[in-house]
Symmetry: C3
Subunit: 316 residues, 3 copies
């Protein structure tokens, strides 16, 4: 079988279907190990240090990575103040910051506000760099955990119909997930969004070239009975000039008990979180609601990446 | 003997005298263990993760919990920026934040600005939640460490006279401690405070119903010779409209060498810290000064709670 | 051999040449251990807790200390918000903060904005305190790692010529390093700086008294061929009233490929980092460029200090 041969993880385009399989299989192993009476991997990274270098705070993502590292026995250096590094007044480059950080850690997890920064850091780094979100750029581990959640419910992934709902223009999760879905056969995506935040053409063209069928739809009700998975996202108020437009748009794309009733019995409801009111709390106990499990899956995916990037063999 | 049967710790009213005994006995065991040549408990939680979720910074309380976790071998995820979670702009509920956090940690320590928030989080959480202060609400582990300090000096606790001095209206420590003191017999409390920050009637009524004698006093000098314990608190300048009133009030309730001279030989002086000048630094070397030991006792109490909540049996 | 007998590390003047040798030898041992297949020291501090108490953020220095602690198996409590401790509104003294912190940690690393604060904390503390920079005061571990870097390239240190370039008035690193250089024989220092940020007379007098030869020079080109080591520092724009003066000064003291060409073949280029454009990125691959190694050396020095201060014997 092909080896995991990435040195860094900075964008979704790095993954082909073989790499995805490798990652997901290790994630499955991690999930099993965390539930085991006697854990096999609890100390496997106990001589390794991960640096969480967050140029903007993101407690959720940071905790998910740090929990993954702790579950493998590793140590953590952490900051939500990484901007201090490259402050205008001091003017250090990301290149220099990364060069210094390599001397202190065995792996760097970076959240930065500028697209492309993770790739730049990877080029400077002598240790693996994982992109934990670079502004309007990518958030590849989120895309992996999203796809892992879909695969957990539909192991083949092929032949699925998926609705992506809400802010498809600025929401990087749906963009990154779209890239990954091209690795599977016979996928159909419904893009359901207000007109001000439609999915951009670059993704649509990429899907077309890669044989993924897609359709723009404005009615959520019409799409719900058709899909195996509905992926909700938060619509950001600040995208709208007119508050009334926002109210109308936000109110139009909500999953309440009634909407859930329109969905297939075997379908799933996803959300990258945080949610505002796109999904009613009443839906949380519906067995199709997968968003908290989705967040939890981030742990397995990140444990898998830490293990694979740090070169640990998970076979006996 | 009764088992420790709490799933969470959010308010002082959860404790009865049996639970207090269980906690204090484990705390004694922790104190002994920390002083031992060969520690028995140094790795007992090494497969556990504690998340410090601080919606407002409190280095002292946070370090005390984190030190407790580290002394037991556990891992720590930490943030002083938890507000980012529930920011108005993103609008996530505490319920959702807690649901996500449960997937990453085995126990959550939460400091929040809104009263009742810890209890709300506990209801959402599948792992134990400890309240590390919820605004003007409660700070139950502080009350435990206060009582533990008293018990350390007066093992029976019964029959004591205690002066609570300073800001009794806004200081939650004296309120929480009052609740716990009702578990003991023949306690007398003297409330010594400026008129603008007197102890509220709800506590006084609760004490009366539970057979704790209390008296309002305005003269500290009059009370000092009568009590076994004086519990000083900081008077906050911002409570006073007139700066002169503040100066007068603050200046009236100070323990200097002279005031300490009025106290019984076997009495003790406590303070939840930070102090400003309620207690002169000259008193620090008086053997009756217990406030730094009191802060240190927080470590033993928090180690005990971590062990008990994470279900570890401390008996052989 | 003399024992390491410091309880705290707060200023460069604490070190004599014997202590320097002890520290550097342990640092060498750490460097070797980190590169070893089987590490001997990876768990040696696993029952110890280090508190990083940063009253102002400094991710680089903090991570260097925390990495050192993690590489030795120890636990870490960390804050970049330590100011909350001593906030004007609460008014706690550094003395009290330190007294409390001693109860939670086995060693305190402190970064503070006020000169002398580390020494004050050391006096209050029952556990070792390391100064990680106190305002315009000292940053002794930086001086140690600077000297360690020089010694790594020129083991005897004696007989060296060193140029210190840039902001010599406000840059505490060059001041602290100057103190340490007096421990060696036949050292010559060239001070190369704009007239507004010349090295102060106190250091010059100290050097003279201690038999270190020094010269003021304004031309970098003239000095480069003469020295074994050029220590570049960042010139801070805010020191200059006239922006034009700044441009001229900053532009005058730059190491580009051309300037590097003037230097001896066996010389080295150092910089405490962060750099702005005092050293061109094109010089990074020149084998004489030691600044990233210099940053990395901080790890070995800090591991050595942690071991020595926590009383661990590194001999068999």
């Amino acid at each position: 079988m092909r080896k995991f041969d990435l040195e860094h993880v900075y964008e979704s385009q790095q993954f082909d279907s073989e790499l995805l399989d490798i990652i997901f299989n290790v994630a499955d192993e991690m999930k099993k190990d965390l539930a085991a009476e006697q854990r096999r991997y609890s100390q496997v990274l106990n001589d390794k240090i991960m640096a969480s270098l967050f140029y903007e705070p993101s407690t959720r993502t940071r905790f998910s990575f740090e929990s993954a590292m702790a579950r493998l026995g590793g140590s953590i250096l952490t900051t939500e103040n990484a901007k201090e590094f490259s402050s205008a007044s001091k003017g250090e480059t990301l290149y220099d910051s990364t060069k210094v950080m390599c001397g202190y850690a065995d792996l760097i997890v970076m959240r930065h506000n500028e697209p492309g920064s993770a790739k730049m850091a990877a080029e400077a780094s002598s240790v693996p760099v994982i992109n934990a979100g670079d502004g309007s750029g990518q958030h590849p581990t989120q895309a992996l955990l999203d796809l892992y959640t879909i695969r957990d419910c539909f192991p083949a992934v092929d032949n699925l119909s998926i609705a992506m709902v809400g802010d498809l223009k600025y929401g990087r999760t749906v963009r990154s997930l779209s890239y990954l879905l091209t690795k599977y056969d016979n996928i159909t995506i419904y893009f359901v969004s207000p007109s001000v935040c439609k999915m951009d053409d670059d993704i649509k063209d990429y899907l077309t070239v890669n044989n993924v069928e897609w359709k723009d739809e404005s009615s959520l009700e019409k799409v719900l009975p058709l899909v195996d998975c509905v992926y909700m996202t938060r619509i950001q108020r600040e995208r709208f000039h007119d508050p009334e437009d926002y109210e109308q748009a936000a109110g139009k794309y909500i999953i309440d008990v009634e909407q859930a009733g329109l969905m297939k019995k075997e379908s799933i409801i996803m959300h990258p979180l945080p949610r505002v009111d796109e999904i009613s709390q009443k839906v949380d106990n519906d067995p199709r609601a997968q968003y908290f499990q989705q967040a939890r899956n981030g742990l397995f995916i990140r444990m898998a990446l830490l293990l694979l990037l740090l070169g640990n063999d998970i076979d006996d």
